[in-house]
Amino acid sequence: MKDEFSVLICGVGGQGLVLVSNVIGNACAASNLRVITGEQHGLSQRSGAVSIHLRIGSDVRSPLIPVGMGDAIVSLEALETLRYIEYLKEDGLVLMNSRVAFPITDTVELVKKKNAKYFGREDVENRLKQVTANILSVDAFELARQAGNPLTENTVLLGAMSVFESFPVPPEALRESIAKTVPQKAKDANLKAFELGAKASHDRFCTLLPCRQI
């Protein structure tokens, strides 16, 4: 299963997961890499849990990642990272947005109790550490803002993914795909967001895991 890579992309409805998946998909097509995704379009609602299974490799057939065999989770919202933890292999990569969107159902329960606290990002990170040490929690909203468009959080995390040598898609192909796939007026901000994400990831992992030069 060399040269295979499976990544679970998750978040909440409205965060642009499908765009990330399309950018990677188009970059794979341009780089002669076989890619399949399992998406879930189902209910057209904001703020619900959303996930996409993306798998690269000449022999992959299943659009769903087998349990315990995912190479990475890319999460646009902190709580959602933990929801799919069964898919991650031992010591797999976790690239997560530090931003939390608390489900309203949880808030409704919270306000009924005295001194109750949210299940938050730290709780998620503590649990994740029991499966892997390779966790990057990044303030993607802040980096997206620095890039000039707060809607580019998804591209920040894609940039973070791009630095790993194990991720078989060439960063150049990803940049080209971004330029072609995102709305033209958001192109520059997205490319900048990609670089900022890549740098954050490189700073965190370059001494720990095989990373590409950036």
């Binding site: 299963m1 909440v12 409205g14 998946s21 998909g25 794979c28 097509a29 076989r34 890619v35 399949i36 995704t37 399992g38 998406e39 879930q40 379009h41 189902g42 209910l43 057209s44 609602q45 904001r46 703020s47 619900g48 849990a49 022999d59 992959v60 057939r61 299943s62 659009p63 769903l64 087998p66 349990v67 315990g68 065999m69 709580l79 959602e80 933990l82 929801r83 933890i85 069964e86 969107a101 608390f102 489900p103 309203i104 159902t105 949880d106 808030t107 409704v108 329960e109 919270l110 306000v111 009924k112 949210y118 299940f119 709780d123 998620v124 649990r127 994740l128 029991q130 499966v131 707060p150």
Partner: protein
């Protein structure tokens, strides 16, 4: 390319001329694609009232001699089935292809219905793709098969096929210009009464035999790794999981992948199982293949050990994946899986202890949230029974509202209400959306008027079919001066059907609407309330197109006294509580609908004045 897009591509390459459909997950993107490019591709496209009308529309085209296609979700074929069964009898002249998508796991459907039984019940041939590449080939073949045998063809998919995307080799697109044909009148050619129905039946049986012969040698059925004494028989999404399971277990059983699942290639299956010692049947939902293989094995190989659902190796519910199939296959061949999947799942469950669920919820700005708030205020202390219907408002019976008592199928709220008003002591208030009302609510309404039913109906008119992606419905006023449609006016339809008591409220007006609702709810007789406001997602899209701002709200920390009406009673996902325990609004998702400002008892919520 998404499999749904591959299906459209296949149809376009097959020079389809007429498409009609009603949206439904997981097939909605097929309809969306035709709606977007139909005109450019010269395909007569319409979003029909319901699946039955859609099937009849394309059947009309195919009877006349033009290729037609429709697509629907599993339960959509129940609605269309009346005409579907008879089309099996009459057949068609030009190619007619029907895509039906089942939903193992009931991701976005009210049941896990297995549509494969429609094929044999209606004597209509059925194909099952496993991925987008299969899909594009099968759609093209289906048109040809349909024409050759003069029969509609069913292509049955599942969610994990429809919403799978991959790299697809497309063929050439040679569109011919749309041209009307001359109708050829042949007595009883498409009329099924008396003797003609019996003749059709005999022809249908003959036709099925011919198609079965063709399927015996179809390239859509193939055997991977022949020669093993262990076999797998599979189709659809099951094939993908089976192939990976073999890879994970490093084993090479013979795999029979079936692409033509009605009529089944019985000789091919018999020849496949004859030399085997054991076979695992990998199919989601009902044991359709398993029962057929078991029957064939009696003649072909009575010693064959058949594993699947009956043996308890695989479930008859939920969707499969590679680890589920690996575990079953490992048991059959007596090896261990390389990973202990059960242990991983168990550990994951433990790690998720305390992680809040994130159920589907009404979007920020959703008019339904306003309507439901007004209903709650109007009905405070009044016990009532609430049959509801299919749409975004089907979420109201879930947490945190738990509002709603029955939910059957499209339009069923009206019929159920008619029965409840005979039977229960409490008042009955039925709820339905505009699109569902046009889809299947009209007969129920006519029935309620005629029988002077004593219940109230509230129609949530958000002007689109919201849940499946805001497609237009029969009442949608087009945004782009589209002169090809005449939107129905709900109150005119109601009046025309004899409804005399009609009240219209604004879904966002949680101050006045409860008063109006209370008046209606305390009147005897049949009344209809229209709660009106466009779907927030649809509205946002229009605003963005027109360059109009969306201005979010904020909570004034000096005023908020932690009463939490905004959270507890309104449940808008834009709200959370901050470190001080005060209500807080996420500006990036607040839609600025202002409804929460009317509910806060201390008026702590105000507009930010800044577009988001």
């Amino acid at each position: 390319m998404l499999c749904n897009e591959a299906i459209v591509r296949g149809a376009l390459e097959a020079d389809v001329k007429v498409y009609a459909g009603y949206p439904g997950s997981p097939t909605s993107e097929i309809l969306d694609a035709f709606y977007e490019i139909g005109e450019r591709m010269d395909v007569r496209t319409n979003i029909s009232a319901n699946e039955k009308v859609a099937l009849e529309t394309v059947a009309g085209a195919a009877m006349a001699g033009l290729r037609g296609m429709t697509s629907m979700k599993s339960v959509g074929l129940n609605v269309a089935s009346d005409s579907f069964f008879t089309l099996g009898y009459t057949g068609v002249t030009a190619g007619l292809v029907l895509i039906v998508a089942d939903d193992p796991n009931a991701h976005s459907s009210q049941s896990e219905q297995d549509g494969r039984f429609f094929g044999p019940s209606a004597y209509i041939p059925m194909l099952e793709p496993s991925d987008p590449t299969d899909a594009i080939q099968m759609v093209k073949y289906a048109f040809e098969l349909s024409e050759r045998h003069g029969v509609p063809v069913l292509i049955r998919t599942v969610t994990r096929v429809n919403q799978q995307s991959g790299i697809v080799q497309t063929g050439s697109l040679n569109r011919t210009p749309f041209k009307k044909v001359k109708w050829t009148h042949e007595p009883t050619r498409f009329i099924t009464v008396a003797d003609s129905a019996r003749k059709f039946k005999a022809n249908m049986l003959e036709r099925t035999k011919r198609i079965a012969q063709e399927f015996e040698v179809s390239p859509f059925n193939r055997i991977d790794e022949p020669g093993s004494d262990t076999g797998i028989i599979t189709s659809s999404a099951g094939y993908n999981y089976a192939v990976e399971a073999c890879r994970i277990l490093n084993t090479r059983p013979s795999i029979l992948k079936l692409g033509t699942t009605y009529p089944l290639p019985k000789k091919l299956i018999s020849d496949f199982i004859r030399p085997l010692k054991q076979v695992l049947i990998v199919e989601e939902l009902s044991p359709y293949l398993e029962l057929n293989v078991t029957a064939l094995a009696k003649e072909a190989n009575s010693q064959l050990k058949i594993f699947g659902k009956e043996s308890g190796h695989l479930l008859e519910m939920l969707e499969y994946n590679t680890n589920i199939v690996s575990t079953a296959l490992a048991r059959v061949i007596g090896v261990k899986t390389p990973l202990d999947f059960d242990a991983i799942l168990k550990r994951a469950d433990a790690l998720k202890e305390g992680l809040p669920v994130r159920p589907p919820t009404f979007c920020p700005g959703c008019p339904h949230r306003g309507t439901l708030t007004s209903m709650r205020l109007a009905l405070r202390g009044i016990k009532h029974v609430q049959p509801t219907d299919i749409g975004c408002y089907s979420m109201a019976p879930l947490a945190p509202l738990f509002y709603g008592d029955t939910l059957l199928s499209m339009g069923a709220s009206l019929g159920v209400a008619a029965g409840l008003q005979y039977s229960v002591e409490e008042p009955v208030i039925a709820m339905i959306g505009d699109s569902t009302f046009y889809h299947a609510g009209l007969p129920g309404l006519a029935n309620a008027v005629n029988h002077k039913c004593n219940f109230k109906l509230i129609i949530l008119d958000n002007s689109v079919t919201a849940m499946t992606g805001q497609q237009p419905n029969l009442g949608t006023v087009p945004q782009d001066d589209d002169a090809s449609v005449q939107p129905l006016r709900l109150e005119e339809v109601l009046k025309g059907m004899g409804v005399t008591d009609i009240t219209i409220i604004d879904a966002y007006d949680v101050k006045e609407a409860p008063k109006k609702l209370k008046e209606v709810f305390t009147r005897p007789g049949f009344s209809v309330i229209i709660s009106r406001r466009i779907c927030a997602l649809y509205g946002d899209r229009i605003k963005r197109k027109k360059g109009q701002p969306i201005v979010p709200n904020q909570v004034d920390k000096n005023v908020c006294n932690k009463y939490y009406a905004c959270i507890r009673d309104f449940n808008c996902p834009a709200f959370n509580v901050d470190e001080d325990g005060q209500a807080h609004i996420s500006r990036d998702i607040c839609d600025g609908c202002m409804v929460c400002t009317k509910l806060c008892p201390v008026s702590a919520i105000k507009t930010t004045g800044e577009p988001r």
